[in-house]
């Protein structure tokens, strides 16, 4: 196994000349360069962890002839990543792990001149639901209690999130409008910082993906009140969804892989095949379950159609947010 050989060489600090003869048997397209695996978030966040997990699965099963090289481009709500990928000099070796800023950033920054329909669909690895969390010591145990508390605080209730226009702020804006809530929203630079300040009770509630709140939930510090998914989240069967409360609303963060605009058909087919294989591994399926993500498998055409509907629904949500 080439992996083992490489690592052993590194161990002996002589990792300079690993010889891994390539079996060039197929006529099909194969990467000839390391693959620029662009991540639309800084190191350490939820999106980054997912990308690195995907990379480690590919490495473990030795699925690619050239490595996936993670490249964090988190600046400007993903604008940096979109500019980098759409201007890639070698589109056949450039792929992007996206979240919903794939839809929102081009909408909010029209001057970037990014048309996401030019990107190449590769794979939808899953969608991440959102839930409303409070700290255990707040004494709030259900959504009713939350509503009472927020109304009683009269505009002084403090929620934290990752910034105006980001996924959680869209959910909070919807919730506030639907229930006539007035909350203070403090923007942070990442989901980790938000979770930390909820744990330290600097803020009173957050809307966050279960994966980022899981550790604190298991320790008993965080209490989920409401899920923003279509069905109840399996890990939290007692937590109602906002749909059950009569609101026609659900919101997910997409965890999808897309190719650079102008990618050749052969390359697109290669990556679609690669990520289908990764998706089907035991590791990825286990990861989906443990991180409370939902599968939402789609083929390339369905993905393009999905992008279209997402852009429209985000246009409406953002208009509400700004208005």
């Amino acid at each position: 196994m080439s992996m083992t050989k490489r690592a052993l060489l590194l161990l002996s600090c002589a990792g300079l000349l690993a010889t891994t003869p390539m079996a060039a048997l197929a006529q099909e397209w194969e990467p000839r360069r390391p693959i620029d695996f662009v991540i639309m978030a800084g190191p350490g966040g939820g999106a980054d962890q997912i990308a690195r997990f995907i990379q480690s699965v590919a490495e473990k099963h030795d699925m690619t002839t050239r490595p996936l090289v993670p490249n964090n481009k988190g600046g400007g709500s993903g604008a940096e990543a979109l500019i980098h990928v759409s201007g890639a000099s070698d589109p056949d070796h450039t792929i992007l792990v996206t979240l919903n800023s794939f839809f929102t950033t081009p909408l909010r920054q029209a001057n970037l001149g990014i048309d996401i329909q030019t990107f190449t669909p590769v794979a939808m690895m899953g969608v991440d639901p959102f839930a409303l969390w409070v700290h255990r010591e707040s004494g709030i145990t259900d959504f009713e209690g939350f509503l009472t508390q927020v109304r009683a605080m009269n505009g002084e209730y403090v929620m934290g999130g990752t910034g105006v226009g980001q996924e959680d702020s869209i959910v909070i804006a919807f919730m506030s409008a639907a229930y006539g809530l007035d909350v203070k929203y403090i923007p942070y630079d990442g989901g980790g910082a938000v979770a930390r300040d909820l744990a330290g009770q600097q803020i009173m509630a957050t809307v966050n993906n279960p994966s980022e709140a899981k550790g604190f939930y298991e320790a008993g510090d965080f209490v989920p009140l409401l899920a923003f998914s279509d069905e109840r989240i399996p890990a939290y069967p007692d937590v109602p969804t906002i749909r059950e409360l009569g609101q026609d609303f659900s919101y997910y963060n997409q965890r999808a892989v897309v190719g650079a605009p102008g990618m050749s058909e052969g390359a697109a087919a290669y990556y679609q095949d690669l990520f289908t294989k990764i998706y089907e591994t035991e590791e990825w399926q286990g990861y989906l379950t443990s991180e409370s993500m939902s599968p939402l498998w789609m083929n390339a055409d369905e993905q393009r159609a999905y992008w279209g509907t997402q852009v429209e629904s985000h246009r409406a949500l953002l208009a509400e947010l700004d208005g």
């Binding site: 080439s2 990792g15 300079l16 000349l17 690993a18 390539m22 360069r33 390391p34 620029d36 090289v69």
Partner: protein
């Protein structure tokens, strides 16, 4: 030097004004109940920069700062020549990265500096300027997995070969 001091202060003052104008695209005032707007921090800091430039100009006029007293030229002929040769070499280096790849550019730059500027022997210059990029390639691409620009497409066969070695 005295001339350079006031000229630089002037350019920096213009830059500060530009930054202030640019910051003012976002609210620069204090928004009631929210604190300062998005442009406030850079706007007022650029304002302080502008004031500093004015003070530097005042010191220049009063001749209190060392550069404003000095009559020696900002750079003498030899200085301009050195900076031109080295700085020009750097600019060439960066332009070459996009054409003949990072590693090719390193080789050319090192050879230029060692042989032409440093006046080392041809043998030493060649050895160093060819072995360094090769070593860098194996370190960055092989070990650290950091890909460097490969330049225009005519370099592809070389890199295809090198990547076949390390992966």
């Amino acid at each position: 030097m005295r001339y350079g001091e006031i000229l630089t202060a002037g350019v920096l003052a213009l830059f500060s004004i530009y930054l202030m104008v640019k910051s003012a695209e976002l609210p620069i005032g204090f928004i009631r109940g929210q604190g300062p707007g998005g442009g406030a921090w850079p706007f007022w800091l650029s304002g302080i920069m502008l004031i500093c430039c004015a003070m530097i100009a005042l010191n220049w006029w009063r001749r209190t700062s060392p550069p404003s007293q000095s009559d020696e030229p900002f750079l003498d002929g030899h200085g301009w020549r050195t900076i031109g040769l080295v700085g020009g070499g750097l600019i060439g280096f960066i332009v070459l990265i996009e054409i003949i790849s990072m590693y090719g550019a390193i080789a050319v730059f090192l050879f230029y500096y060692l042989w032409f500027l440093g006046r080392h022997s041809l043998r030493l210059s060649l050895i160093l300027s060819l072995s360094t990029p090769l070593l860098f390639f194996f370190f960055f691409e092989g070990m650290m997995r950091i890909t460097m620009p490969t330049g225009m497409s005519f370099t592809d066969p070389v890199f295809d070969f090198l990547y076949d070695i390390i992966y």
